[in-house]
Symmetry: C2
Subunit: 216 residues, 2 copies
């Protein structure tokens, strides 16, 4: 007879949350205090029932008929859920062009991610400073993650090196991996890999384009 305190949130709903959050913050800045699901749905091109369900999944506060939901309450509950108000430390491996950009990118902090160390396999980079971080040799990954209690790893190395780097992160106690290499990574089942496969996205774009062009 335990109370189910964990709301079930689908992965798709989770992906929609940042869009809600962005729009809600916009509305807040315009002075809007209450917003209805159909209005949000229209703005984001979603189904109104889906919006209402998504809101119900994050929020325990109820919406009022004819009016809607409290913008401020939704914002704070979403930030809570998404972890954007408590910062996680992360390490980054691979300071090629993409890794370089991430080290320079200020936006991550806004989402609660703080890159505390960067590694590379290339001796040429090691010891150099990029955006205020000293680049460390890749063979120190496990040790450093363990010592600093890091649980998030970002992989921006070429595909050939990705699995090896991944193994080192896991050995260092990392539980969540953000993988930008276009390869499948094998990990123990308690570790989550979130793939950011640019090739996959391009495939979608390219397919769509091919179909559009055919009809011209």
């Amino acid at each position: 007879m335990f109370v189910e305190n964990e709301k079930h949130i689908t992965i798709q709903a989770l992906h929609r949350m940042p869009y809600y959050l962005q729009k809600l913050r916009e509305l807040k800045n315009e002075g809007v205090e209450v917003i209805s699901a159909p209005k949000i749905a229209q703005m984001l091109n979603l189904n109104e029932v889906q919006v209402r369900k998504d809101f119900a999944a994050v929020s325990d506060s109820k919406g009022k008929p004819k009016a809607g939901f409290s913008v401020l309450e939704l914002i704070s509950q979403m930030e809570e859920l998404l972890g954007f108000n408590n910062t996680d430390d992360a390490v980054l491996v691979g300071v090629g062009s993409l890794g370089h950009a991430f080290l320079a990118y200020k936006g991550f902090e806004e989402y609660g991610l703080n890159i505390v160390a960067a590694f590379d396999l290339n001796p040429e980079f090691i010891g150099r400073e990029i955006s205020g971080k000293i680049i460390l040799p890749a063979d120190k990954i496990s040790e450093m993650c363990f010592r600093m209690g890091i649980h998030i790893g970002i992989i921006t190395v070429p595909e050939e090196q990705a699995q090896k780097v991944c193994d080192q992160l896991v050995a260092g106690g990392v539980l969540a991996i953000w993988n930008f290499a276009p390869v499948h990574l094998s990990v123990p089942e308690n570790v989550l890999v979130k793939n950011e496969n640019l090739a996959a996205s391009l495939a979608v774009l390219s397919k769509h384009l091919k179909e559009k062009m055919k009809n011209l």
Copy 2:
């Protein structure tokens, strides 16, 4: 009584394709000529039926019982489908840290994407050369896209500017938009927006981590 020549491929299947392709190329390099669905499934941590169905969706060549599928045929048919063997021209808008990295990134060409022009709103950047491309003023977007017959636009500007840039791309005849700004973009229905929302990915990671840490 027309023959259905367009195979139906789900969006999820399309996302899996680059992983298959990567693995198949690896196998090809090892000299493997025929591979079975269960083996691929095991390597990529997928269901064997799913793999077989995905293969059937791209390929008209049949697999052989007890043996499997021709690695070479699968590779060429996937490349064909994904459009990795015919290059599309694209423009990029926003040369902040991420845009900068994309201009420097060589990998896109491998996937059939060629960035032919880059734009920015910031007068400070205009006229400067980054990775061999001259940065043009954003108000030239529509004109240039139209003149050069560009159909793909990459948006790497901050969220406040994204919708405006998007409208200009659409006005210039762009049909597919790769959006890295964490906002929903409104477009006509014949235009595809592929969102690459880093915040959304981080949300997934953060949620997973929060649950893991709770159990410690």
